[in-house]
């Protein structure tokens, strides 16, 4: 986009404008997603517990509940405890939000629709996503409260541990794809659903579930929400937070939930390619078989459909996390650690070796093709 604008504008202005557009789009997505998911969370929780959830605000399904929540949170008093370290206490939520927001810089939404195309996007995403914990730890420590500190320590132990299997699971599709470029990985899975990497081999199929478990743990969702376990720690690292700062933490959580789901969709579930190659049939995407290249406008529309596709997949991932949250009881801290160190890491390692052997044994795939589109 910067190159496109640079035709008419000086390059510094073009770069600034392009950056602003990208950031605005991503910010809008992250905030809208957070708003939609607060509503969805209440609704899902209600339905699972045989209640109705919000029904009144904004008409039939209470769809304006998020706005009401937001207004309530913004108008709350901003309290800083006397024992707190004011600077760190104030900064911590923004650190968290920045980290989970920066992940989107490298996540593609369709073929080439990415704020910053990176050669090493997978690595960048994992590196930045791991920084969200910094805000939580700072917040927990700076609150000057024992509950908060316990929550932060749990968060630290949990996230640092779960980063290992999460990265291992992300490496496996990267190994199959032969690139860390998320756009290239997404494009590889074009065509029918069996081109998706999750169906590439049985090991990758299992890897997806390990990845998802570790992703849930690394974004602190139940059943892994030990850092804010209200039955033991009041609200963990969130104990002393109220109003707007609390909501920033919450937005960070929803943003990173959506981000890990999107990464799962790109790495395993075909990215912006639907289960049927509809965009190819309609002539909206390039067809490698016939060498067909769509017109720029048609390709744009095809990319738009792709974006809808990946957003649906990522939303389904988030809904799955909500389902798990309201269905499963919370684990104990030792169970969380056992889960990571005794099950997830060895399983991921076995899947890694298995996929490697599979790639050597069947270089072109056993049943379905794996040549890449």
């Amino acid at each position: 986009m910067a190159d496109f604008l640079a035709i008419w504008l000086p390059s510094w202005l073009a770069l600034t404008l392009a950056a602003l557009v990208h950031v605005t789009l991503i910010l809008t997505l992250a905030l809208t997603a957070a708003a939609a998911f607060t509503w969805a969370e209440r609704k899902v929780a209600g339905r699972i517990q045989d209640r109705l959830g919000p029904t009144r605000v904004g008409g039939r399904f209470g769809w304006l509940q998020a706005v009401a929540d937001g207004l309530k949170l913004v108008s709350k008093e901003d309290i800083i405890p006397r024992n707190a370290d004011p600077l760190l206490f104030r900064t911590a939520p923004y650190v968290s939000f920045c980290a989970s927001f920066c992940v989107y810089l490298a996540l593609p939404f369709a073929n080439g629709w990415v704020a910053q195309p990176l050669d090493i996007a997978v690595f960048f995403v994992l590196a930045v996503a791991g920084l969200e914990v910094l805000g939580v730890i700072l917040g927990g420590y700076a609150s000057g409260s024992k509950w908060s500190l316990f929550g932060a320590m749990r968060e630290a132990a949990q996230v640092v541990s779960y980063e290992v299997p999460l990265a291992l699971c992300a490496v496996i599709p990267v190994m199959v794809a032969g690139t860390m470029d998320l756009v290239a990985i997404g494009n590889m899975q074009a065509g029918w659903a069996w081109n998706w990497l999750i169906f590439h081999n049985p090991f990758l199929f299992i890897t997806f579930f390990i990845y998802f478990t570790c992703a849930v743990a690394s974004v602190n969702r139940a059943p892994f929400d030990l850092p804010e376990a209200e039955s033991e720690l009041v609200a963990g690292f969130l104990t002393e937070y109220s109003g707007f700062r609390w909501s920033v933490f919450f937005m960070a959580e929803y943003a990173s939930m959506f981000a890990v789901s999107m990464l799962a969709a790109i790495l395993f579930l075909g990215g912006w390619n639907g289960p049927l190659p509809i965009t190819v049939w309609l002539g909206l995407a390039p067809n490698p078989a016939t060498g067909y290249e769509p017109h720029a406008l048609l390709a744009y529309f095809g990319n738009f459909l792709g974006m809808v596709n990946i957003l649906i997949k990522a939303t389904l991932g988030v809904l799955l996390m909500m389902w798990a949250r309201w269905t499963l009881p919370r684990l104990r801290i030792d169970q969380v650690m056992t889960m990571c160190l005794k099950y997830c890491i060895p399983l991921a390692a076995v899947m890694f070796v298995g996929t490697m052997i599979y790639l050597y044994a069947f270089p072109v795939g056993l049943i379905f093709r794996s040549g890449g589109g």
Partner: protein, 214 residues
Amino acid sequence: MGIVFHTVLFYLLAILACGFAVAVVLSNNIVRMAFYLVACLGAVAGLFFLAGADFVGALQLMIYVGGTLVLLIFGVMLTARGPLANIQTSRAQWAMVGLIGASLLAVLLYAATTAGKWTHSGQIVADRSHVSKPTATPIGLALLGVRADRLNAERTDAALGKGMAGYLLPFEIVSVHLVVVLIGAAYLARARRRATTPPMAATSGDSNNLDPGD
């Protein structure tokens, strides 16, 4: 104009990095120090990204920023006595650190100011085509022994193969070393816990009682 824009961003990130680095030194609060250090390292990662070295930038984020985080948690928080422990620096420490810092700064300044002499005769290479090139692929190839920087050189085939040792062996040696360190650390941590068990249990002769948790 592209160069100017990059220069502006460079100065912004450089000022951030330097400012936070100074804040680390001047702060007395140990957790704030760690936070400033993380911010400083993050700004350095930004400098790497600006220079087009996205792989090194991401590594910086993962290893240094993430590493400092772990340091903050397990090194600082567990040893700090109060919730907001303060560190007082003595005059002797100030003098010693100042001496070391000043000499290091002098070396770095000398290297930085004479950089023109040992690169492309001082010519500016900061154009955008240079920035948007992928950097991870040459690194990965170099690990396997295909040195992209030497491939470009105009040489004969025999001379080409000479410098192509690759970094795989050093990398493996470092990894094995790290595993040794990890196992050693785990062993030390374990041994220390055994030593703190009450002497009653230690003299009972039944070693199974010593570590029920393990």
